[in-house]
C-alpha cells in the first residue's frame, strides 16, 4: 500500500511552487522521486484524482492539487464534476441562487 507516497507527492506539489513546474515539464521524472506503483503514477498522470480518492488518498490533497494540475478556472465545479464521475455536482444549485 503506497497511497502514503501519493499523499507525499501531492503534499510536495502543494508546498513547493517549483515542484509544479518540475511536474509539468517532466511528469514521469518528477513522480519517480516517490515510491509510487505504476498504477498510482498512471492515475496521477491521467489526472484521475477520483480513483486515487476512492483508494484512500486524502481529499484535502486532491482538492488542493486539482487547480495546480488543471488551472484554477472552473473551481470547484470542474473538480467536483470529475469527482462525481462526470455529473455536475449538486452544490452548483446553491451558487445559482441569489445571495442577497
Amino acid at each position: 500500500m503506497s497511497m502514503h507516497a501519493v499523499e507525499k507527492a501531492f503534499w510536495t506539489l502543494g508546498k513547493d511552487p517549483e515542484a509544479i513546474e518540475q511536474f509539468k515539464a517532466d511528469p514521469d521524472g518528477f513522480l519517480r522521486q516517490f515510491l509510487l506503483t505504476d498504477s498510482e503514477r498512471k492515475m496521477i498522470m491521467e489526472n484521475d484524482l477520483k480513483s486515487l480518492a476512492d483508494q484512500g488518498v486524502n481529499t484535502l490533497l486532491t482538492l488542493m492539487v486539482w487547480p495546480m494540475l488543471n488551472g484554477p478556472e472552473g473551481m470547484p465545479f470542474d473538480y467536483l464534476t470529475h469527482m462525481n464521475g462526470g455529473e455536475p455536482p449538486a452544490m452548483m444549485a446553491a451558487f445559482e441562487q441569489p445571495q442577497g
Binding site: 481529499t59 482538492l63 446553491a94 445571495q99
Partner: protein
C-alpha cells in the same frame, strides 16, 4: 488560582474571511454577529487566556509528521494560508501556562507533540482573528488535534485530553481566567463528491448534544456514523469534545446556526457555560 470560566464552539470556515461574497449576505451577517457576541462575552467574563482547540488541514503538518495532539508553547503566527485575506501577524501565547499544561500532560499520561514555534492555519486562526485579536491583552494557547487528516485521534482520547487540560488549568497556582474554544464543524464534505452538501438535521442533533453538555452522546455516534451523515469535515467535532471535556460540567446555548452550501458547511456557534 486559575479557572476555566467559559467556552465557545466556533466555526473556522475559511470562507468567513476568504470568500464571504459567495454566501447569502444575511447569513454572513449572522455569522459576524456571532463572533461579535463571543468578543463581548469574553470581555464580560474577563478572560485572560483562550485555549483554542483546532485541527490541521494538511497545511501545517505533512505526511512526514502527523501529530495526534500538539500544543504550541512558544512563538505563534498566522495564518499560514495567503488566501484568507488576513495579513500574517504574531499571536501572543501564554507561555508559562502553556508549558504548565504541557508538563502536566507529560506527568499524567499524555505525551504531547510540542511546537516551540507554530505557524497557525485557519483551523485556529479564523477563531483567533475574529474573536480574540479584537481584545488587546488576551493571550492564546493553541492545541491541534488530528481531525481532518488520518489517522484521526479517537473521540474518547480527545475527551480524555480535554479533561486533563481542565485539570491542568485548575492546578495552575497563578490567577488566570481561561476560556476554551472548540473549533470547526459541523457537517461538511471536503474534497469529496458530496462537497457542498449540508445536513441540517445532523447539525441540529450535534448542537443539541453540545447544549446538553452531553459529551458521551457525541462520542457514541462513532466516526463511521459521523462520516456518513456529516462528512469528513464533521470529524472536527472531536475538537468540540476536547473543549467541552476541559470544562467538566457545562450547558450550551446556540449563538448561531447557518446552513451555508456555498461555504460548503453547516456553520455553528455555541456558548459553553460552566454548570
Amino acid at each position: 488560582m486559575a479557572e476555566i470560566v467559559g467556552g465557545f464552539i466556533v466555526s473556522h470556515d475559511p470562507m468567513i474571511t476568504g470568500n464571504p461574497e459567495i454566501a447569502n449576505k444575511k447569513q454572513v451577517a449572522n455569522v459576524d454577529a456571532a463572533f461579535e457576541t463571543i468578543v463581548e462575552r469574553l470581555k464580560e467574563l474577563r478572560v485572560d487566556t483562550v485555549i483554542v482547540v483546532g485541527d490541521d488541514h494538511y497545511t501545517m503538518f505533512g505526511p512526514h509528521c502527523l501529530p495526534q495532539y500538539l500544543i504550541g508553547v512558544g512563538e505563534l503566527e498566522g495564518p499560514e494560508e495567503n488566501w484568507l485575506r488576513i495579513e500574517r501577524y504574531q499571536v501572543e501565547n501564554n507561555v508559562p501556562l502553556a508549558e504548565h499544561i504541557m508538563n502536566y500532560g507529560f506527568a499524567n499520561g499524555f505525551d504531547w507533540a510540542v511546537a516551540k514555534s507554530l505557524l497557525l492555519d485557519h483551523g485556529t486562526m479564523i477563531p483567533i482573528h475574529k474573536a480574540i485579536t479584537p481584545i488587546p491583552g488576551v493571550r492564546t494557547i493553541p492545541i491541534y488535534l488530528a481531525a481532518a487528516v488520518t489517522p484521526i485521534i479517537p473521540m474518547r482520547r480527545a475527551q480524555q485530553l480535554g479533561a486533563m487540560i481542565g485539570d491542568a488549568v485548575n492546578a495552575w497556582d497563578k490567577d488566570e481566567r481561561v476560556a476554551v474554544f472548540g473549533c470547526g464543524g459541523i457537517s461538511h464534505w471536503v474534497g469529496t463528491a458530496e462537497m457542498g452538501r449540508v445536513n441540517e438535521e445532523f447539525d441540529h442533533m450535534i448542537l443539541n448534544h453540545v447544549n446538553n453538555g452531553d459529551i458521551e452522546a457525541l462520542i457514541a455516534l462513532g466516526d463511521d456514523y459521523v462520516l456518513e451523515n456529516g462528512g469528513n469535515g464533521a470529524w472536527e467535532i472531536r475538537n468540540w469534545i476536547c473543549a467541552m471535556a476541559a470544562m467538566k460540567k457545562l450547558t450550551g446555548e446556540t449563538l448561531c446556526y447557518e446552513p451555508m452550501p456555498t461555504w460548503i458547511t453547516g456553520v455553528g456557534f455555541s456558548e459553553l457555560k460552566v454548570a
